[in-house]
C-alpha cells in the first residue's frame, strides 16, 4: 500500500511555502532592493536615499575606473586560482592518501576538518602572531636559522632586519596561506565522502584485471569523482569571491598601501567605514554577477558525466 503523501501534494506545500516566503523576504527582496540602491545616493546604512545618482549609472562607471577595485579584482582572481589549485588540490591529495590507509581514517578526517570549526577572527589573530614583525614565530625561527640578517652597532645594540610579512613583497602569501589552510579540510571531507561512495566492485574488478593502486586512482577514482570535483570547484570559486573575515582581521582596510584589497573587504570598507552604501551595494551586485558567471564557466568546463 502506497502512502497517500505521494498522491496528495498539498501537504508538501505546507512545508515548502514558509521556506519559500522566508527566502523571498530575506534573500531575494534584499537582493533586488540592493540592485535599486546601486542607482541611488545613500550616505549611511539605514539612511534615506538622497536621490538618484547623476548619471544614474555613476557607480557602475566608477566600478570599472576605480583603481582599488581593479586591485581587489586582481587579488580575488589570484585567490580563486590559488583556492582551486591549493585548497581543492591539496584536499584531493590528502583524501586519496587517507583513502588508502586502513586505520585512522576517522582520525585524519577530524584533524583536517578541525580548522573549519575555529572562528576566522581567532585564526586571524593567531596568524597575526605567527607573522608578527618583531618577535613573530616565523621571524624568530628564521633568525635562529641564520636566515635573517642582523648588524651589531658600535654601542653593542643588535639591529635585526626582520621580514615584514605584510609588506608589498609578502602580503599575498601571508594573506592567502591562512585562507588556504582553513578550508582544505572542508573540501577534504567532501572528496573523502565522494570516494567512499564509489562502488567497491569497480576496484575489485580492476584488481582482477591487474590494476595497481596508481592505475585505480587514475582510471577509477578520479573519473568517478568528476561530479564531486565539479561541486568543489563551484564552491571554491564562489567562496573565494566572498572571502572577508580572515583577511580583514589580518590586513584591515587594504593593507599594505591599498594593495591588499579583495572584493569582499573592499565592499565592507566602502559600506561600513566610508558610509558609501550605494557604491558598496554596486560592488556586492558585481560579486554576485561574477560568481554566477564563473560558476557557470566552471560547470561548462567540467561537464557532468552522463555515465555517473
Amino acid at each position: 500500500m502506497k502512502s497517500m503523501i505521494y498522491k496528495k501534494k498539498s501537504p508538501l506545500l505546507v512545508f515548502l511555502v514558509p521556506a519559500f516566503l522566508f527566502i523571498i523576504v530575506f534573500l531575494y527582496y534584499p537582493f533586488f532592493r540592493n540592485i535599486i540602491n546601486t542607482f541611488l545616493s545613500i550616505g549611511g546604512l539605514g539612511r534615506a536615499a538622497e536621490g538618484v545618482n547623476t548619471p544614474w549609472y555613476e557607480n557602475y562607471q566608477r566600478l570599472f575606473t576605480d583603481p582599488y577595485m581593479r586591485t581587489a579584482m586582481k587579488n580575488t582572481a589570484i585567490l580563486i586560482v590559488c583556492t582551486v589549485v591549493f585548497q581543492v588540490g591539496i584536499a584531493l591529495g590528502l583524501a586519496l592518501l587517507v583513502d588508502n590507509i586502513k586505520r585512522g581514517q576517522q582520525f585524519f578526517r577530524t584533524v583536517y576538518f578541525f580548522p573549519i570549526v575555529i572562528s576566522a577572527t581567532a585564526l586571524g589573530l593567531m596568524f597575526n602572531l605567527i607573522f608578527l614583525y618583531k618577535g613573530g614565530m616565523i621571524n624568530q625561527l628564521l633568525l635562529n636559522l641564520g636566515m635573517i640578517n642582523y648588524e651589531v652597532k658600535s654601542n653593542g645594540r643588535m639591529i635585526v632586519e626582520w621580514i615584514d610579512w605584510k609588506d608589498k613583497a609578502h602580503f599575498m602569501f601571508t594573506m592567502f596561506l591562512p585562507v588556504m589552510w582553513q578550508y582544505v579540510g572542508f573540501y577534504f571531507v567532501i572528496i573523502v565522502t565522494g570516494i567512499n561512495n564509489i562502488p567497491t566492485d569497480l576496484y575489485e574488478a580492476a584488481a582482477l584485471d591487474g590494476a595497481d593502486g596508481w592505475k585505480k586512482t587514475i582510471y577509477i577514482t578520479l573519473p568517478m569523482l568528476r561530479n564531486v570535483l565539479r561541486t568543489c570547484l563551484v564552491l571554491a570559486i564562489t567562496g573565494a569571491l566572498k572571502v572577508f573575515d580572515l583577511p580583514w582581521v589580518m590586513f584591515g582596510a587594504g593593507m599594505p598601501e591599498n594593495n591588499g584589497w579583495l572584493t569582499g573587504t573592499y565592499m565592507y570598507d566602502q559600506t561600513f567605514n566610508r558610509m558609501n552604501v550605494d557604491y558598496g551595494s554596486t560592488i556586492a551586485v558585481f560579486i554576485v554577477v561574477l560568481g554566477i558567471i564563473l560558476s557557470n564557466a566552471a560547470n561548462r568546463l567540467i561537464k557532468p558525466s552522463e555515465d555517473l
Partner: protein
C-alpha cells in the same frame, strides 16, 4: 474568607515576581573602555559595583575607540540596534543620532530626575547643533609626546622641554636613528591622526587650529597640506618604524614601551596603559612636549572633554530601563567613581576630581600639564566621518608619493 486570603496571597506573589523582574533590568552599554584602554579595569570595577548595588545587569559591548568603532556605533543607530547607554564622542560624530532624535537631552531627563548630572558644571556640557546638551561629560583628555628616557639616555639626548623646536627634534631623531633605535613610534596606517593634529598646528597657530578648509584656496587647506608634507618628510628620513605602513597601533606602542623607540604622540589614556602593562619600567617614560615650529610653541597641546554618556531614546521610552539607565550614568559620573578614572585630566565636576597617589608617570603628566600654555580641541573632531576616513586613509598614499598632499586634502574637502 478563604478565597479572599488566597487572592491576596496570589496578588502578593505576583507583585513580588513583577518587582523582582523589574529589579533585574539588563542594560546594553557600549563604551570605548574596551581592549587595551587604560581605564578598562576601572570601568569593569565600576560596572560590577553598579550591578551589585542595583541588582541590574550590564551587557558590556565596549571596544577600542577608532574610526571603525565609531562607524559601527553610528550604523547600530541607523539600523535600530543602538545600546541603552552609550559612552561616545560629543562632537560632530554624535550629530547623526542626535539629529535623528535617538538620544535624550539632559533637560528632558532632568524634568523627571531633577538631580541628573547636577554634579557637573553646566557650562562644560557639550552643546549639540540644536543648542541642547545630551551627554554627561566624563573627563577630558590631552594629547602630547611620550618620551622613552632610556632610549634618549642611550643616545646622549636630554628629555625635551617646553621650548623644544622642530629643528632640534629632527637632529635628535637622526642621532637616535644612527644609534640603532627607531625615533618615532607610530602606525601611519592606523593612527596618523595624532601627528596630523600637531603638524597642522605647527603650520598654523593654536587660534586657527580648528579652521576647516572649504576650498583648496583657503589658509586652512594650505596648513593641512604643509602638515601632511611634514609627515612625509619624517617618513622619508626613516624616522618612523620600518613597518609603519603595515604595523598596528598596538605593535608600535609596544615598541615604544619596550625601549625600541624614543617618541610617541598619544593621549592621556595611554598613561593608564603604561601603568598597567609596563609597571616595571615606568620610570623610563616621561610626558614631554611635541616640538614646535613657526608660531606654535611646544607647550601648546591638544586637549578638551570630548566624550560623555548618552541615554538613548529607546532606553528612555522603555519603562523598565529608564530608571536603570539614569542610575547607571549617574553612578559612572559620580564624584567618587569619576575620580578613579582621572589622574591628570580635566573634568566637568563642580567639586573637581580628587585623584590620589599619582605614580611616577602620572606625576610626569601632571608636571608637563603645569607647563602647558594653551590647549585646543582636535580639528579631526569637527569634520565628518567620511572626510576623516578619507584623509587619514590617504596619509599612507602621501608619504609613499602615490598622491600629493594637495590631492589628499582636496579629496577630504569634497567629502566634508
Amino acid at each position: 474568607m478563604k478565597k479572599s486570603v488566597m487572592l491576596l496571597v496570589i496578588v502578593m506573589l505576583l507583585a513580588a515576581v513583577l518587582s523582582a523582574a523589574a529589579e533585574n533590568v539588563t542594560l546594553n552599554v557600549v563604551t570605548s573602555y574596551g581592549g587595551d584602554d587604560g581605564n578598562r579595569a576601572n570601568f569593569e570595577a565600576a560596572v560590577a559595583e553598579y550591578e551589585a548595588q542595583t541588582g541590574n545587569k550590564v551587557n558590556d559591548g565596549s571596544a577600542t575607540s577608532n574610526e571603525e568603532w565609531k562607524a559601527r556605533v553610528l550604523t547600530d543607530f541607523e539600523t535600530g540596534s543602538e545600546p541603552d547607554v552609550l559612552f561616545f564622542f560629543t562632537n560632530a560624530d554624535a550629530e547623526p543620532f542626535i539629529k535623528a532624535g535617538k538620544v535624550v537631552s539632559i533637560d528632558e531627563i532632568r524634568a523627571e530626575y531633577p538631580d541628573y548630572a547636577t554634579n557637573m558644571k553646566d557650562s562644560m556640557l557639550a552643546v549639540a547643533s540644536d543648542g541642547k546638551n545630551y551627554a554627561v561629560p566624563s573627563y577630558g583628555f590631552w594629547e602630547n609626546m611620550f618620551v622613552n628616557k632610556s632610549v634618549l639616555d642611550a643616545c646622549g639626548i636630554a628629555v625635551p622641554g617646553p621650548d623644544y623646536t622642530w629643528d632640534q627634534f629632527l637632529a635628535d631623531c637622526q642621532t637616535i636613528l644612527d644609534n640603532g633605535y627607531t625615533p618615532i613610534a607610530c602606525s601611519l596606517v592606523e593612527v596618523p591622526h595624532y601627528w596630523f593634529e600637531f603638524v597642522v598646528m605647527n603650520n598654523g597657530t593654536i587660534d586657527n587650529q580648528l579652521d576647516v578648509p572649504t576650498s583648496m584656496d583657503d589658509a586652512a587647506a594650505a596648513k593641512w597640506v604643509a602638515g601632511l608634507n611634514d609627515i612625509k618628510d619624517l617618513y622619508e628620513r626613516g624616522f618612523f618604524p620600518k613597518n609603519t605602513l603595515t604595523a598596528t597601533d598596538a605593535e608600535t606602542v609596544a615598541m615604544f614601551g619596550e625601549g625600541e623607540a624614543a617618541f610617541l604622540i598619544d593621549g592621556s589614556w595611554k598613561v593608564g596603559y603604561f601603568t598597567g602593562n609596563h609597571e616595571d619600567t615606568l620610570e623610563d617614560y616621561v610626558i614631554s612636549y611635541v616640538p614646535g615650529k613657526g608660531d606654535r610653541k611646544a607647550s601648546e597641546a591638544i586637549g578638551g572633554i570630548s566624550m560623555g554618556y548618552f541615554i538613548t531614546t529607546k532606553a528612555w521610552e522603555d519603562p523598565a530601563k529608564r530608571e536603570a539607565a539614569v542610575e547607571f550614568v549617574s553612578y559612572l559620573t559620580s564624584d567618587d567613581v569619576l575620580s578613579r578614572f582621572v589622574t591628570t585630566e580635566v573634568t566637568a565636576l563642580v567639586n573637581g576630581a580628587k585623584p590620589e597617589g599619582l605614580n611616577i608617570l602620572q606625576q610626569s603628566a601632571a608636571d608637563a600639564n603645569a607647563s602647558i600654555t594653551g590647549v585646543v580641541g582636535a580639528v579631526q573632531d569637527t569634520i565628518t566621518s567620511e572626510a576623516k576616513g578619507d584623509l587619514f586613509g590617504n596619509v599612507q598614499n602621501v608619504v609613499t608619493g602615490k598622491m600629493t598632499a594637495e590631492e589628499a586634502v582636496a579629496s577630504a574637502i569634497a567629502l566634508n
